[in-house]
């Protein structure tokens, strides 16, 4: 009988807040904010305050399970690992290594992600490894890598408070990244102007000086109009552009088509408001651009990010503490899962699989021949399930809820010869598996997460996993060993040493250095303190590059049959597929049922009242949910949170992909609403 207090990291969004788990008699009983944490400084959002509630939930998986017909049979780890190894190896022998694929996890640690991609690449000689970053910030990594040379947030979260003007576009941070929203409000309290661009009247929009409620999918027209006005008014930063940029003349020529009049017309914003926003941002001494899924989840997601990079660099708002470009990463370790090479085209540290020198380095380190061909993405692997992909290993991802057009996903996954799912609960995806492996949640293991500002942070074990469940590091070591790989690691710290040896940007990261405040990469050696902001005197790529953003309107827009715009996203009390938050009593109490937001005037036309049951239908499928009548959405628009298995918003979404990043267009499709009569 004693209480201990374990400092660790919140398992929800990419902010990476510090939380302290109070542990009593082997159980995590309470979450407290960590007053000594460099990012959150004693703050938590509702999800963080209740992040202990799902840990000891009775539905946790406690033993490996093997499918027998429609049921699962508990089996030993020995049997489970042998089965997984035999079926995965058998598939590779019969169809070739490229018939095997793996979905790694933005919920798991860096060390686990590293081992996962190493296992897939080394054991099967394929690069078919990806994870849900494909569904959130794939356009960021592509576009920012091209424009600036690094696909990560340029600055630190605390720097936001020093900005003089913040343009927040396609981000509902008050609900999805509440602690970062707090930093933005600190900037406002210090005199900064907050400009929110969002079709919805979000909480942030209500608190902004300027809210530009653009039409869905018109980010590029708006930003191009702003840039045109900035150049025409001579407010662009000529010396910054001259010294540090290339491609300016191309951009200027490109913008000749984007008059303010046209931009205003297409985006549905008044010319005066567009001009005011442009001038305010350009005139600010320090300017920051904050964006999220509203920018990336479009068929032109990569071009959207190019546009934002162009805007920031046009004004010289990069490379200083108070200025920068802030993609807000959605998952606790989605930055890390990308960094660790859980992507089909790069090894850890964004080293291209097609580069012979790089491949040779990893071949020597791992002792196996490696493929030079980029692998398939999440959506491609699932689309090819049962055909080119015959066996899939999914670690802590839930594509049956999270991917676009989930009806299609639910058809494809059962077509696999072998599906193994490793998770903490029997998720909608795990239910389809041949073999289920019980993993450990954040409170039950050690390792590191990397937050949205590139900060490696230590996760500390507070309690044991339930029953026979094991931490994912141990499961990967067992499976790697059974597949004939040399996985000799005694603890995750040793994996980090291997990562540091192979990826120069993380060369100085050691668990022993992370105790106090973590370290922000790049950190090339063990003497290096880490990097609070990037592109200080030169861009990672040398000169910054203006890339002209080609506007592609949403592939589907409202018509007579499907008269509404439908967009999806998060609400404040829940997280993604609800696996954890819907099993947290307090969070679930806050929102127990699915809903879809609809404007009061549209509701009146359909004789709908708040709380009425409705059916939403798109060209992919339909869901039954309830109407939430609210002025937050614009007339003619619907908003559906995607947390609810009983009304999966992703039955409706359009799986068309951005050609460069392969992200699906979650944020815009056409739908219709019907009242369900009792």
């Amino acid at each position: 009988m004693n209480d201990s207090f374990v400092r660790t990291i919140c398992p929800y969004c990419g902010t990476g807040c510090g939380l302290i788990l109070r542990v009593r008699d082997g159980a995590a009983v309470e979450c407290l904010p960590d007053r000594d944490h460099p990012v959150s400084r004693g703050h938590l959002c509702i999800k963080g305050w209740y992040a202990h509630e799902f840990i000891h939930h009775p539905e946790r998986l406690t033993t490996p399970l093997v499918r027998e017909g429609e049921r699962f049979r508990p089996v030993s780890w020995k049997e489970a690992i042998a089965l997984a190894a035999e079926r995965l190896r058998g598939t590779a022998e019969k169809y070739g290594g490229n018939a095997v694929g793996g979905l790694s996890s933005a919920k798991c640690t860096n060390e686990e992600n590293y081992l996962f991609q190493k296992l897939i690449r080394a054991a099967f000689g394929t690069n078919n490894v990806d994870h849900c970053a494909r569904l959130c910030h794939a356009p960021t990594t592509v576009a920012m890598a091209r424009s600036l040379g690094s696909g990560a947030m340029t600055n630190s979260i605390e720097h936001l408070a020093r900005a003089g003007c913040i343009v927040m576009i396609g981000s509902n941070a008050a609900e999805s990244h509440p602690i970062i929203m707090g930093e933005i409000y600190r900037a406002v309290d210090g005199g900064a102007t907050l400009i929110v661009v969002d079709p919805r009247k979000t909480a942030a929009a209500e608190n902004a000086r300027i809210h530009l409620a653009i039409r869905p999918g018109t980010d590029i027209p708006l930003v191009c109009g702003m840039m045109r006005h900035i150049i025409d008014s001579g407010l662009h930063n000529g010396s910054f552009i001259g010294e540090r940029m290339e491609g300016f003349e191309d951009l200027r020529a490109f913008l000749s088509d984007w008059t303010v009049e046209r931009a205003a017309r297409e985006s549905g914003i008044s010319e005066a408001a567009l001009r005011e926003a442009a001038e305010t941002f350009a005139r600010a001494r320090e300017g920051a651009v904050v964006y999220c899924m509203g920018i990336t989840q479009h068929a032109c997601g990569t071009a959207n990010v190019f546009a934002l990079c162009d805007l920031a660099m046009l004004c010289g708002h990069v490379g200083r503490e108070g200025s920068g470009i802030y993609p807000l990463r959605g998952q606790n370790n989605v930055q890390g899962a990308c960094d660790m090479g859980a992507l089909p085209n790069v090894y850890p540290g964004y080293q291209a699989v097609g580069d012979p020198a790089v491949r040779d380095k990893f071949r020597k380190a791992w002792g196996r021949d490696l493929s030079d061909r980029p692998g398939l993405t999440v959506t491609e692997m699932i689309g090819a399930a049962g055909e080119d992909i015959r066996a899939l290993y999914i670690m802590a991802e839930n594509p049956a809820l999270s991917d676009p057009d989930v009806n299609h996903v639910l058809e494809r996954l059962p077509a696999l010869d072998f599906l193994v799912v490793q998770d903490i609960f029997l998720t909608e995806t795990a239910r389809l598996a041949h073999l289920v492996l019980p993993g450990a949640c954040y409170a039950e293991k050690t390792g590191t997460f990397t937050n949205t500002e590139r900060r490696f942070q230590l996760l500390r074990k507070a309690v044991d996993p339930p029953g026979d469940a094991e931490d994912d590091f141990s499961i990967l070591c067992r499976l790697g060993g059974a597949l004939g790989l040399d996985f000799p690691y005694r603890n995750p710290g040793e994996v980090m040493e291997e990562i540091a040896a192979l990826a120069p940007a993380y060369g100085g990261i050691r668990h022993g250095r992370l105790e106090k405040a973590g370290i922000q990469w790049p950190c090339p050696n063990t003497e290096h303190p880490g990097t609070a902001f990037l592109h200080k005197d030169r861009f990672t790529r040398g000169k910054g590059l203006f890339v002209s953003p080609d506007h592609v309107p949403p592939r589907e827009s409202p018509d007579g049959d499907y008269p509404f715009w439908l967009s999806t996203g998060r609400m404040f009390a829940h997280y993604h597929t609800g696996t954890m938050t819907r099993r947290s009593a307090f969070l679930n109490r806050e929102q127990e049922e699915p809903y879809v937001e609809i404007h009061p005037e549209d509701a009146r036309k359909l004789t709908l009242e708040d709380g009425d049951p409705i059916r939403i239908t798109s060209r992919r499928g339909s869901i039954v949910t309830t109407a939430r009548v609210t002025g937050r959405v614009a007339r003619g628009s619907l908003f559906a949170p995607f947390h609810f298995t009983e009304a999966r918003a992703n039955r409706l979404t359009n799986p068309v992909l951005d050609p460069l990043s392969k992200i699906p267009e979650f944020k815009a499709c056409a739908a219709r609403v019907e009242k369900i009569r009792a």
Binding site: M1, I20, R35, C45, W49, E175, M181, E590
Partner: protein
């Protein structure tokens, strides 16, 4: 002085060590400096550990002490390093039968003058002091932001508050961090009052229910405000009530365990009517006149 001096910290350590050595306490709840100078709460069990006990940063521990005591055997004696606000909070919790003072050993720490100023603390020291020297308190109206929220034209003030509270992200941090907020069930979770499933939490319902529930209990520790991620000056909601109780009844929560809140007492003790309310309290009467 900015922070608690080394000398004061040593005085606290001496008392904590003594309590453990004499087996006068089964554990000491305080802050511990861990690896790489990282600080977190800890229950010290051995005198030999006390060298790691630290007194900074300010970290209210009264609620944690309550939770530990409530899940411990009845004879468990917990020593707690208390600043003035922790001390008062534990007194209020005892009044509400959440803890028993006999189970608590108070190790009193006085805050520095600078800390009192930052917290707008009127009484920056506990009843009994083992470390540090008592410093003068600060009146909340000395703070410009607070006075702008409590004084002046009511319509303007209302607009100012509305704009500030519109930021609320409904994290429940103010409630969760508050050492006195312990009702089960909590009114803020009552479907009748607070709308579920959306932000911001409603200004009048959420924030004023909370403020009024604490009106005769708030010990002005500031934990609510420090927990607020969006910089809402939650403490300012409490100051007016605290001042009214002090002016009218000479009552300050947490000073005297034997004295019940005037709000709970009958009218026989009501002072003569007609007393002046402070100028910053909105006119319109209270029903007492």
């Amino acid at each position: 002085m900015m922070t608690i001096s080394h000398k004061s910290m040593e005085e606290i350590r001496i008392k904590a060590r003594e309590l453990l050595e004499k087996k006068d306490a089964d554990g000491v709840l305080a802050l511990r400096r861990g690896e790489e100078a990282v600080v977190a709460p800890h229950v010290f069990r051995e005198p030999g550990e006390i060298g790691r006990l630290v007194t900074e940063p300010k970290w209210p521990l009264a609620k944690t002490a309550m939770r530990i005591l409530q899940s411990s055997p009845r004879d468990f004696r917990l020593a707690v390093v208390v600043r003035g606000c922790d001390d008062r909070a534990l007194v209020e919790l005892a009044k509400r039968n959440q803890v028993t003072e006999e189970n608590i050993r108070f190790i009193g720490l006085a805050c520095t003058e600078e800390q009192a100023g930052r917290c707008l603390c009127e009484r920056p020291y506990p009843r009994t002091i083992h470390g540090g020297k008592p410093q003068p308190g600060v009146h909340f109206l000395q703070d410009e932001r607070v006075s702008s929220l409590l004084e002046g034209d009511p319509a303007e003030r209302m607009a100012r508050w509305a704009a500030i509270l519109r930021r609320c992200i409904k994290c429940y941090g103010c409630r969760n961090a508050c050492p006195i907020c312990v009702c089960v069930p909590c009114k803020l979770e009552d479907d009748v009052w607070v709308e579920k499933g959306s932000i911001p939490a409603e200004m009048l319902v959420f924030h004023l229910i909370r403020a009024f529930h604490l009106s005769d209990a708030c010990v002005a520790c500031g934990a609510c405000q420090e927990a607020c991620p969006v910089s809402i000056p939650v403490m300012a909601l409490q100051f007016a009530m605290r001042q009214a109780l002090k002016d009218r009844y000479g009552y300050e929560p947490g000073l005297d365990g034997a004295r019940k809140s005037p709000v709970l007492k009958n009218f026989l003790e009501e002072p003569e009517t007609g007393k002046d309310y402070p100028a910053w309290i909105t006119h319109g009467g209270t029903g007492h006149e």
